[in-house]
């Protein structure tokens, strides 16, 4: 099912070339005038004389083998260009996921297990931060933590080969900006899941048999709540993939997302298609992992069932 999604998505990405007004060549060149030699190269590369579906097939086949075309502006392989930047984006998304895991799930678990003041204040804080879009969070974080407090650099100071600590410092503000709006939903679902599991009858059974409280929480409440929590966490991480472009732009990070935006602005369609394909694939892969985790955690579910 998700593979089907991927195929359709790739088709849409490819087909966008044809939806554009004007000829395919005009779109490929981004409206620039091209010398005849370049036109010939493009014709050959994209098999522009072949029927539509054949072209799609060539494109997809190339993509699967790592050839995503050539950037019209930089005259380099798109794959190489992506490869240089992919770790920045991956690092950013991973860092943000870590923050969501620790803060979002952590707060949710605490709020779920100990109803009280912490519970309501956590909910309120996260509800407010949830409404703050990543780019607004970015400028506020920059203002407070970079300009006023000077704890973190505004622009990435490390170059490749910089120490791990420098990299972490560089990426902290962006990661927080990326994670902020997702914290609320993860915390809220976690809390609700824990509350619901804690009230279940099988927990009563365990208590009635004298199982120590701590163990009841671990082996029954948390273990069962892990199912919906993992699902929402995975879906959240998947959503980070697209928003990373916004954060990278705001913090001038040299990631795949920022590059996507630049390519879109300069109408470099090959690059946009290539990066879109990569991002959508990542999105689908994360969702697939979510479904897998769900099947692993819940023995009642057969592999292939939808987690959401």
């Amino acid at each position: 099912m998700l593979i089907g999604s991927l195929l359709v998505a790739s088709f849409v990405i490819f087909g966008a070339l044809y939806l554009a007004p004007g000829s395919v060549l005009a779109t490929l060149s981004g409206g620039r005038a091209l010398p005849a030699a370049s036109v010939a190269v493009l014709n050959q590369r994209y098999h522009l004389n072949a029927p539509f579906f054949a072209q799609y097939w060539y494109w997809l086949d190339n993509a699967v083998h790592g050839d995503l075309g050539i950037s019209i502006t930089l005259r380099e392989n798109v794959s190489t260009l992506i490869g240089n930047r992919i770790w920045t984006t991956a690092g950013l998304v991973l860092y943000a996921s870590l923050i969501i895991f620790v803060l979002g799930i952590g707060l949710g678990v605490l709020a779920g297990l100990r109803p009280g003041k912490l519970d309501t204040s956590a909910l309120v804080t996260t509800a407010v931060t949830a409404a703050v879009p990543a780019f607004v969070a970015a400028i506020v974080l920059l203002l407070v933590f970079s300009v006023k407090l000077g704890w973190f650099p505004a622009l990435a100071t490390g170059t490749s080969g910089a120490s791990f600590l420098t990299e972490v410092k560089d990426f902290t503000l962006p990661a927080v900006a990326l994670a902020l709006s997702s914290l609320a939903i993860v915390a809220r679902v976690t809390r609700a899941a824990i509350r619901e599991e804690a009230d279940r009858e099988h927990v009563q059974t365990a208590v009635s048999r004298g199982i120590p409280h701590r163990q009841v929480i671990q082996r029954h409440t948390l273990r069962n709540a892990a199912i919906p929590i993992t699902t929402v966490f995975a879906i959240t991480v998947a959503s980070l993939i697209a928003v990373s472009a916004v954060v990278e732009t705001a913090f001038s990070l040299n990631g795949v997302g920022a590059y996507l935006v630049q390519a879109a602005q300069s109408k470099d369609i090959a690059v946009v298609q290539g990066i879109s394909l990569v991002l959508v694939t990542a999105f689908v892969v994360v969702n697939l992992l979510a479904d897998l985790m769900y099947a692993v955690l819940d023995p009642r579910v057969k592999l292939g069932a939808k987690a959401s």
Partner: protein, 300 residues
């Protein structure tokens, strides 16, 4: 008009036939008068102000929102200029007021398109059930793979930067989500006895779907639309922030954040912050309203 809505609701489980009537407009009116509570009223006020700014902004702005005056760049608040000047010397308040238009209009277009498309698919799937439902549902599931922002970037590259391409792309990206939500509501309605009664009386299928089923879902439709508005607003502002939506020198809150970002680093945070605050305020207000409405729907 509201009496017709009540007549619609009575037909559930009742063999008497309702006299048509489109419920959505009156549905909105019913909720506006409902018990929203203190928080809800504040949010409604904020949204109201934003709508006002969107409609009247360009006219009531005291100064030109687009004419640059570089000598006044980054000057702070002075009398007559509550929020100071932006990076090109324009009055921030005026630009905010003017920017409200695109900031509110874009999401509205997205919501209308997504809800219309989603409702259509949902009703068709719920009505025909069986194979048609399976095909539509699978189709919707497949579309889920496209994050809204990504589709919007793709669309603006191909069709040119601007609100139209971005809004349509977002609407398409939201469609599966809307269709899924509305489908379950539509299925519930379709199984009610009043639908069978209408069928027996020979009322045409489109009339049943759009004249009765959809109006009876007006609650969930309005609630969902409100929540969707919040998402669309954030996504569209992000697109404009990325430079792919509204193009400068046109006024737009997302654009303002982007173009005034350097000010944050140089010690002039106000213009960017003010624009950010506008976005956040309206999004919070819309979200809270939407959640209230959803809660009330859940209690039915």
């Amino acid at each position: 008009m509201s009496r017709l809505v009540f007549a619609n609701r009575k037909t559930r489980g009742d063999l008497s036939v309702a006299r048509g009537g489109l419920g959505v407009a009156s549905g909105k009116r019913r909720f506006a008068g409902g018990k929203l509570g203190v928080a809800g009223t504040i949010c409604a006020v904020v949204v109201g102000l934003a709508v006002l700014a969107a409609v009247a902004g360009p006219f009531i702005a005291p100064y030109s929102p687009t004419l640059p005056n570089l000598q006044l760049a980054w000057v702070g608040p002075v009398s007559g200029h509550l929020l100071g000047f932006d990076f090109e010397g324009r009055d921030v308040l005026s630009r905010l007021l003017a920017g409200a238009q695109t900031a509110m209009l874009g999401p509205l277009v997205v919501v209308v398109l997504a809800m219309a498309g989603g409702a259509l698919f949902a009703v068709v799937a719920a009505w025909r059930r069986g194979a048609t439902d399976a095909v539509i549902s699978s189709g919707m599931d497949v579309l889920f793979a496209f994050p809204g922002i990504l589709l919007a970037v793709l669309a603006t590259t191909v069709f040119g930067a601007g609100l139209t391409a971005a809004a349509v792309a977002l609407a398409i990206a939201y469609l599966p989500y809307v269709a899924r939500v509305l489908r379950s509501g539509a299925l519930k309605e379709r199984n009610q006895t009043y639908v069978q009664a209408l069928e027996v009386q020979g009322v045409s299928v489109p009339r049943i779907c759009f004249g009765h089923i959809l109006p009876n879902m007006s609650g969930i439709i309005v609630a969902q639309a409100t929540v969707l508005f919040g998402y669309a607003m954030v996504d569209l502002a992000a697109i404009s922030f990325l430079g792919l939506g509204v193009q400068p020198p046109a006024a737009n809150w997302g654009v303002m954040i982007s173009e005034n970002e350097p000010g944050i680093l140089q010690g002039y945070p106000l213009p960017a912050l003010a624009a950010g605050l506008c976005v956040v305020a309206v999004v919070i207000a819309v979200n809270v309203l939407g959640e209230r409405l959803l809660e009330r729907e859940g209690q039915r």
